[in-house]
């Protein structure tokens, strides 16, 4: 049976090379590095039970509170591992060399991963009970659950306009959802996720969760699948956009951008994208980008140009400057495309490129010209987009991306790389 892109994404993992931070090494010789595979959909601290035994004997006495840094940047644990990797490693590094810490948690920079607040949460007791049941389900990872549920809730709000379906999830469903995520069990996850859909009058259900199985297996008949796609995506798609602004004084310096030293160099935005409602129009990734970053396009269509001039840009850099820089750099990114994805992503992008899935659905991978929302296809995005390690064709329908490349919280995590003049001080308030 053909394995769909959604399954491939769920199976995706990033090889990690972990070293204990030197300040926490209390033995001679220091412990050897630890290698492991981190699931793309997972969160880094979830690996603690694999990692800790290896470093335990070298640690000084004291309570553990795990965190990670990449070249000095403390990693935010509530961002899925795959997104962190896509965002922070422009030139993918395999294995990804991270430093692990068990002490001196930087609570001024990272949200508390372990706190007494968690102990107060009533459903934690339920989770603790489950410790007895599942060996994977150890004490600390429980603290991640609220964060995940919050994200799911946001996504549900964007898609369905309310959070009732999430609020009404039973404790056992919450647990099941979490467990499926920890284990990377897509089928179990889908079983619970189905319950997040609100019922519509007449017993019909809609939303992309209901369509997930067809996207995954690709065994639906072309006609029904096509109809299903068109009818199911009349709503909004939850996007989480992480923009990395790379300072580029001259094109050649951007070939290997310096690592991020502070999260201030990343700009994030959570945004619903409303997909086209007209018949025969299928919103693409390009449409979504145009909506969010009209100013990052060369030859933006008239309507967006208008919008730009309305909103004004009193303090932005001169556009000509930015455009010229970005143009050159963009070419470099284009050239290096294909070497940028990790294992899972390569196979997924192969799947995308061969369009076998599309053929099996009887759907053309690229929407016909008239479905490009009337936009000319020569408009060019001045930046690079990476979703689940893939740099997707901008003509891909956004609903397809939402269905197959979304994270466990139903958000499409989109990493965007763009360029800013070096004079911009990201910490400036004005």
């Amino acid at each position: 049976m053909e394995v769909g892109p959604r399954k491939l994404v769920w199976q995706g993992a990033i090889p990690l090379h972990l070293e204990l931070h030197s300040s926490e090494v209390s033995t001679v010789p220091p412990p050897s590095p630890f290698m492991t595979l981190a699931p793309r959909h997972g969160y880094l601290p979830l690996l603690v039970d694999y990692i800790r035994p290896h470093f335990q004997s070298a640690l000084p006495p004291g309570p553990d509170n795990i965190w990670f840094d990449y070249k000095g940047l403390p990693l935010k644990w509530h961002i899925p591992t795959g997104v962190l990797f896509d965002l922070l490693c422009i030139e993918p590094e395999r294995p990804w060399k991270l430093t692990v810490h068990f002490r001196a948690y930087p609570s001024n920079l990272l949200t508390a991963y372990e706190g007494s607040e968690a102990a107060k949460w009533t459903f934690m007791n339920t989770l603790k009970e489950s410790l007895q049941i599942s060996a994977l389900f150890l004490k600390r990872p429980c603290h991640l659950l609220p964060s995940l549920l919050n994200s799911i809730q946001q996504a549900a709000y964007i898609m369905y306009g309310n959070t009732k379906s999430v609020m009404n999830l039973s404790q056992s469903d919450q647990l099941e959802l979490w467990r499926s995520l920890v284990k990377g069990d897509l089928e179990a996850y889908d079983r619970v996720a189905m319950r997040l859909r609100p019922p519509l009058p007449g017993g019909i259900t809609k939303g992309f969760l209901s369509q997930s199985s067809s996207g995954e297996t690709g065994v639906d008949t072309g006609a029904s699948s096509k109809a299903g796609l068109e009818s199911s995506f009349s709503g909004k798609i939850p996007l989480k956009i992480y923009v990395r602004a790379i300072k580029a004084a001259r094109e050649d310096t951007v070939m290997v951008p310096p690592p991020i030293s502070s999260w201030d160099e990343v700009v994030t935005l959570t945004r619903p994208f409303e997909i086209a409602k007209q018949q025969g129009v299928r919103s693409t990734l390009r449409d979504a980008l145009l909506k969010v970053f009209p100013h990052l396009f060369i030859n933006p269509p008239e309507m967006h140009k208008e919008k730009l001039s309305n909103t004004g840009r009193p303090d932005g850099p001169p556009s000509g400057y930015l455009e010229a820089k970005v143009d050159n750099v963009h070419e470099d990114f284009e050239k290096s495309r294909g070497t940028l994805a990790d294992e899972s992503a390569i196979s997924s992008s192969d799947a995308l490129e061969s369009h076998s899935l599309w053929k099996s659905h009887g759907v053309s991978p690229l929407p016909p010209p008239e479905s490009l929302s009337g936009l000319e296809s020569n408009i060019k995005f001045k930046g690079t987009v990476r979703i689940q390690g893939i740099e997707p064709n901008l003509d891909l329908p956004i609903d397809w991306i939402a269905k197959n490349l979304c994270g466990t919280e139903h958000f499409v995590h989109m990493c965007v790389f763009t360029f800013v003049p070096p004079s911009i001080n990201s910490t400036d308030k004005d």
Binding site: E117, P146, S147, Q153, V243, D264, V267, V292, R313, T427
Partner: protein, 284 residues
């Protein structure tokens, strides 16, 4: 325009901006003794990359709140409240020994594109500059908030990454905000519109309002024209004008109303006198 009775309690980003500016203005006029709210732009990089979105937010810095255990009485009447505020005006009266009798809080109000309502972010520190831990902050919270926090943990108060500053801040979860706002404004809108309220029984106010609104909303859905003045184009125009002015009123009162419960939940209490004054000021 949709009947305002069906207003779902959300604002667009532009409406929020308007609401915030209204609020900043009347706060400054009527609470001169309190720190002022500021309308602050997002960091430069953010504005450069996401052009065109509303990228400003409300900031209230250096709000001094008394530490609970140092005061005999936690529930302060408006009068006492004012007295304390007078005391606080002169920081020099606080000697070094009592450096931590007050905690200094900073509040940010940021518009959520997801929930389409303002979201409250806050953190606190001691007067010596040390940041407060979650335990200390919890200690400062009103008792009722602690109880809610206990039973609705992940939908009430959580630690979140600040959307602009990327540091952990405490945040009030916005998922119920729009519902609450629509309930609060429902009766008021009906009154201004001259729409007869469906008959209500006495009893728990909030519950009554809730069920009344549900019933009314249902009725409006089925018979959208039932309560609106009969349709000739002239009266329709009048209705539209009336609705527009009501919407403006809602916007001008939105932030204040929202803060009256969100602020209270995190200990930023307005005395009822101040609240009344502000409300009336925004009527004008």
């Amino acid at each position: 325009m949709e009947a305002l009775n069906l207003w779902n309690g959300t604002l667009t980003a532009e409406e929020f901006k308007l609401a915030a500016l209204c609020f900043v203005d009347s706060w400054e006029r009527l609470c001169p003794e309190l720190p002022h709210w500021h309308w602050v732009p997002a960091p430069y990089l953010h504005r450069t990359i996401f052009r065109g979105n509303v990228q400003e937010y409300l900031v209230l810095e250096n709000m001094l709140l008394p530490v609970k255990n140092k005061l005999q009485k936690v529930e302060l009447s408006a009068r006492e409240d004012n007295m304390i505020m007078e005391e606080l005006q002169d920081l020099s009266t606080i000697n070094a020994d009592s450096a931590c009798e007050y905690h200094m809080y900073t509040y940010h109000v940021i518009y959520s594109e997801v929930y389409k309502v303002p979201v409250l972010y806050f953190h606190g520190h001691c007067l010596d500059g040390r940041q407060l831990s979650w335990e200390e902050i919890q200690h400062d919270l009103p008792q009722c908030s602690l109880e809610v926090a206990d039973s609705f943990h992940w939908t009430f108060l959580t630690q979140e990454d600040h959307p602009y500053l990327h540091h952990p801040w405490f945040s009030l979860h916005p998922c119920e905000t729009s519902h609450l706002m629509s309930l609060i404004f429902f009766r008021w809108i009906c009154k201004l519109q001259g729409t007869p309220l469906p008959s209500t029984s006495t009893g728990d106010m909030s519950l009554t309002t809730h069920s009344t609104k549900e019933a009314f909303t249902e009725k409006q859905r089925r018979f959208p024209e039932a309560d609106v003045i009969e349709a000739n184009s002239e009266t329709k125009h009048d209705v539209r004008l009336l609705q527009m002015s009501i919407k403006e009123e809602i916007i001008s009162k939105y932030c204040l109303t929202w803060l009256s419960f969100s602020g209270a939940a995190v200990g930023l209490n307005l005395s009822s006198g101040t609240f009344k004054e502000l409300w009336q000021a925004q009527c004008a």
